[in-house]
Amino acid sequence: MELADRAVGFILASISVTIFTYYTFWVIILPFVDKDHFVHNYFLPQEYAILLPVYAGVTLICFLSFFIGHVMLKSKKKKT
């Protein structure tokens, strides 16, 4: 059982480190690199560096409000 917990924890930590390094590279280091360098092929255009987190944040807020509304409606229906 604890091995499964450890594996999940390790996967979460590695995902977070990957996202952090990728995003740091994208936002901070890439604008200083020449346009002809090959490393630009591995990163999406810079507009996506703004669009993707905003899109993820908006999705998260939508999901949270939907969940809260759903729970509130269910509790109200059960009371009557």
């Binding site: 924890g9 936002v27 905003v54």
Partner: protein, 89 residues
């Protein structure tokens, strides 16, 4: 209310630093515009990292688990002996 005041003061300080960075052009302007978003993403990453590390280091206490199971069996026997319905076995 005091905790909210502290959080608001911290946010105001960060906003002031960001605006001052925009005015004095120490960092290229394109970078300065992206800084708040970068900090939010890195904060989310940090939270996820802490959750993962906590999961990896959680202690499971196997001896206590065995003792607990023994306690549960003992309690069930005692209650059944005294006539209380302990449910499915």
């Amino acid at each position: 209310m005091k905790h909210i005041a502290k959080i608001m003061a911290f946010l105001m300080a960060v906003t002031a630093v960001w605006i001052s960075l925009l005015q004095t052009k120490m960092i290229p302007q394109s970078h300065t515009w992206l800084l708040p978003l970068y900090f939010i993403v890195s904060l989310g990453c940090y939270g996820l990292l802490m959750v993962g590390v906590g999961l990896m280091q959680f202690p499971t206490c196997p001896q206590e688990a065995v003792l607990l199971q023994q306690d549960v069996i003992e309690a069930k026997q005692f209650l059944k002996h005294n006539g209380v319905d302990v449910g499915t076995d």
